[in-house]
Amino acid sequence: MSATFLGMPGNFPKNAAEAVQNSQLRFNLRKATHTIRDKRAAVVGELPDWQELRAAGKAIKDHTLRHLDRYLLQLEEAVTRAGGTVHWARDAAEANRIVADLVKATGETEVVKVKSMATQEIGLNEALAKEGVTAYETDLAELIVQLGDDFPSHILVPAIHRNRSEIREIFLREMPDAPAGLSDDPAALAEAARLHLRERFLRSKVAISGANFMIAETGTLVVLESEGNGRMCLTLPRTLISVVGIEKLLPTWRDLEVFLQLLPRSSTGERMNPYTSMWTGSVEGQDFHLVLLDNGRTGVLADEVGRQALRCIRCSACLNVCPVYERAGGHAYGSVYPGPIGAILTPQLRGMSSDLDASLPFASSLCGACYDVCPVAIDIPEVLVDLRAKAPHGAAERAGMKAAGWVLNSERRLGAAQRLASRMRRFVPKRRLPGPLAAWTDTRDVPDIPEESFRDWWERNERA
């Protein structure tokens, strides 16, 4: 059973400092992110109208968010009309309670799960376990994470931090029906997982999923996936429970035209994903329950700058292109949402009261690569900078920045500070600065302080 991120100690700089020392992790992440990054660039480059699609995706999401109240009610009505039951959950506890009660009402003690970020976010598996219900992940990567009693480290590829020999070891250790002579050949590993899961699919009476999109007009839910496990879970069990964030809405069926192009190309780097499942309400022989999850989203919606994070379609393109994510890995972010999108989403959903959450807006060099690849044009650097202004700052840092602001707000004070630095230049230790600046000189030399600042040179030579 994978543990939950909630209440994780530490902060991003500390977690990342440990992660960068892990050579296996660095190698795995570099290889994996660069592979997906290049695939994405190739298939995005094929479309001459990519920027138009991106603008359309942004516009549709913004419109939906502006009228979310209306579209949610429209969705509820459509789902209900089609025989489904809609539940509203304010937070994680409410959502978990609703799902647990629904499962218990069926009398079952096992459920199969389709990969879902929303259920990770609320810690559903752990909540169900407390109620005596075992949840089995059926996505290959989620299965690896679950069997390894591990944390997911990527939105799309939760086991990206594992290589195939590590996966082989996890299977041999934790999967009772793994073949004795299992090799680390990817096809052999997939086959072992397939056999292991097949039996679960046939046995389970209850499935839990999320959704990539919900169509307000028709009440249809949409799941995109690569392995076919989703389709098994969505069709075989007698009861289907979908937990979906309220921002996953699209107004009309036609809007899918845009998103079914944006998502696969941005996430797996494919022109089209292998399996797309769509369902509307309850079908014969299956009860359908939709749990609409807020869990902080309406708070995000109220923030003028931060609300753009709700456009996110969880493609992971920003993670795969992020130089910080590539080196720190997903676990350093202490959230099911790692990488650049996590750095703006987690502090907004959870607040910034913990040391970890307050450190997330600073987990970026503001290089802007994430904004360039985002299929719904979320200006992640803009939101990061905005959150930095809202984050708590340490007293020493605040005093230092105030002092720097005071010096920089006067050319006379700046000139005096520069002359002081020039006079002290021989005493500046190039390899060992004091205080917080030691963080610079631990790995980098300090440049030579010049004998004279530019402004003094100009004053001496150029001023007429």
């Binding site: 202004a389 920089l408 050319e411 700046l414 100009w458």
Partner: protein, 243 residues
């Protein structure tokens, strides 16, 4: 043309040679260069670290100091991007100083933009007989979209051999206060960037931002690599006579 030099606080304090190079280059190309002495800092460090109030104060100061010039030239992609891209969001339309931002911000140019787009000069008459690689800094690449401007200018420098930098478009890991707030990741990114520089076999690494160069150069120095860092302006200012 009345051109103001915005030297930037980092160059003013730590890299005065870059400011001098811009002055000599622009004069060689026939510009009258002024240095408004009241200038200090664009406010980027404060804004990007979460001290908006101080940042806005510096932004208002900037637009007052540089009002009335035909063009403001900065030897920094990052500071030019701060003024052009971030000021209009920082000083909101309708608030105090917004009109000054709207007037001044569009006239602020990063050096290579000014040379190519305003002066229309590709061959600046420079001579620099060295093997050079160029790192496109994030704010010049993805903020200002400088594109091939620096390469076009460098390719016309006599004697200069320009070698491509592997992984050029990846951030070097400087990131302002990121370099000290997240030193481990910053150093890891810097190490990879430094390796890319060493792989080129270049003697000199140049860029449009001394702040990023200070980070990569500090890493290269610590390794005793022997690679020199130079601001793009200093290469473009170099002539046979100046050697």
């Amino acid at each position: 043309m009345r051109v103001a030099l915005f030297v930037t606080c980092v160059n003013d304090t730590l890299f005065p040679g870059t400011g001098k190079a811009v002055v000599s280059l622009l004069r060689r190309l026939g510009c009258e260069v002024d240095f408004p002495a009241a200038q200090t800092c664009c406010g980027q460090m404060h804004v990007n670290t979460g001290y908006r109030e101080e940042g806005v104060r510096l932004a208002r100061r900037f637009t007052e100091v540089f009002a009335g010039y035909d063009a403001v030239v900065a030897p920094s992609g990052s500071c030019a991007a701060m003024v052009r891209e971030q000021y209009p969001k920082l000083v909101r339309p309708g608030s105090r100083g917004a009109a000054a931002v709207a007037e001044v911000a569009p006239k602020v140019y990063e050096l290579t933009e000014f040379l190519l787009d305003v002066l229309g000069v590709e061959d600046v008459g420079a001579y620099f007989p060295h093997r050079v690689t160029y790192h496109p800094t994030c704010h010049s690449l993805r903020g200002l979209r400088l594109g091939d401007r620096p390469a076009r200018l460098l390719s016309r420098v006599r004697g200069l051999e320009l070698v491509p930098l592997p992984g050029a478009e990846e951030c070097c890991g400087f990131g302002g206060t990121f370099a000290v707030k997240n030193p481990a990741v910053s150093a890891a990114m810097g190490a990879d960037k430094a390796r890319g520089v060493l792989d080129t076999g270049a003697e000199v690494l140049c860029a449009a931002d001394n702040s990023c160069l200070m980070h990569i150069g500090g890493t290269l120095n610590r390794q005793r690599s022997g690679v020199r860092i130079m601001h793009l302006a200093e290469i473009l200012a170099a002539t046979e006579e100046s050697r």
